[in-house]
Symmetry: C2
Subunit: 202 residues, 2 copies
DNA sequence: GTCTATATAACGATAGAC
DNA sequence: GTCTATCGTTATATAGAC
């Protein structure tokens, strides 16, 4: 029935909202039911348990964060252009879903086994073409010696940390929400240049 | 009594261990009591409630992460040397306390009010001398235009994110614990040069 | 101060009527 | 498929003996 699909969808969206905001142990089934505007029993009818409902939400969260990264670095682009695309992708994503990066990383941190379960499903290895591209750029003297893994983590660090640490940033720097928005917008432009050129004049 | 102090200390250390690992909502008073080797009632005798015990642990956590940063950037050093010290400080700290950064940032994320409560206590503003130092370096053409806040967040991002995202990193890159250790050691050397010189040959 | 026992509330989950 | 009512457990917290 179309009725069925709608209810399941409503529950899932409510669960996504509450789990992303409160985490697994902080989330309450009652609150998810309230958010979905239905009865608590329906949650179990459609998803059997809190664990299974969470698993579904978590998997969706990981799929929003990781596959696009691998897709971008697998494209036929320069390293610089890949960096620009990755930075833009994450800044757009986290603007729309501010709780997403903390949710995914926190649950990965607490329950790594839940992550490992399905990480293989969507072939999440670093593409060889990307590894080759970085190594070749180093060999040709275009880049200073750096391992592809370090390169990738540098980009991810600069994109994800300020999203994860928003409350620390706005508190210490005494920012308004608009200030923070501008701060992040500025980073979007800055990060690729920082990665490749650094801060010193040359 | 010395007896009193010892028990309170034991409880606090157990609470620190459990809260840092499991977070507020994931932690159980019973587990803290077990970890401390005492009865559950003692937790309430000394700290009244889970909330108050947590608050005490959280405050200590923030104090381990932030004041040292402000102390370092307030020293009489070049920007490069300050960066080296900050990077070394965080890598040493997170090697000893791997759960600390996720704990502090996650609880800040979920309960920003708990953070704001006492952030003023230990004067956690960016020292003016540091702001002046960055702005002066930019004016003198030694650095490309960058705001001091962005500079600081770049350093923190590169230090903290890989510690927070350890499980993601080791899973995606298929690292052992030793691999991860070596990976982080390598970053410690790399980060200051990345910040200032970037990756391109020049 | 430290223990045992228990109060009290909240949570996840299920049974059963409709 | 959706509701009400409730079970069984577990959580924080307290009372009271020693």
């Amino acid at each position: 029935m179309t009725e069925e699909k709608e209810t399941e969808e409503k529950i899932f969206e409510a669960a996504r909202y509450v789990f992303e905001r409160d985490g697994f142990s902080g989330a309450r089934m009652q609150e998810i039911a309230d958010e979905a505007g239905i009865n608590k029993s329906m949650l179990h009818y459609y998803f059997r348990s809190k664990d299974k409902l969470f698993h579904s939400v978590f998997k969706t969260g990981v799929k929003k964060v990781l596959p696009a990264l691998f897709q971008i670095i697998n494209k036929d682009l320069t390293l610089y252009d890949k960096t620009v695309e990755v930075v833009r992708f994450y800044h757009d994503l986290f603007r729309r879903s501010p709780h997403l990066p903390m949710f995914v990383l926190h649950e990965m941190h607490q329950h790594p086994e839940r992550f490992k379960e399905f990480i293989g499903e969507f072939r999440q290895k670093i593409p060889q073409t990307f590894l080759d591209q970085v190594n070749k750029a180093v060999q040709e003297g275009k880049l200073v010696p750096i391992k592809p893994h370090q390169f990738l983590i540098n980009v991810l660090s600069l994109c994800m940390f300020p999203a994860i640490a928003k409350n620390m940033v706005v508190t210490i720097f005494e920012m308004s929400d608009d200030d923070y928005e501008a701060f992040m917008k500025e980073r979007e432009e800055m990060i690729p240049d920082l990665i490749f050129k650094g801060l010193m004049f040359h």
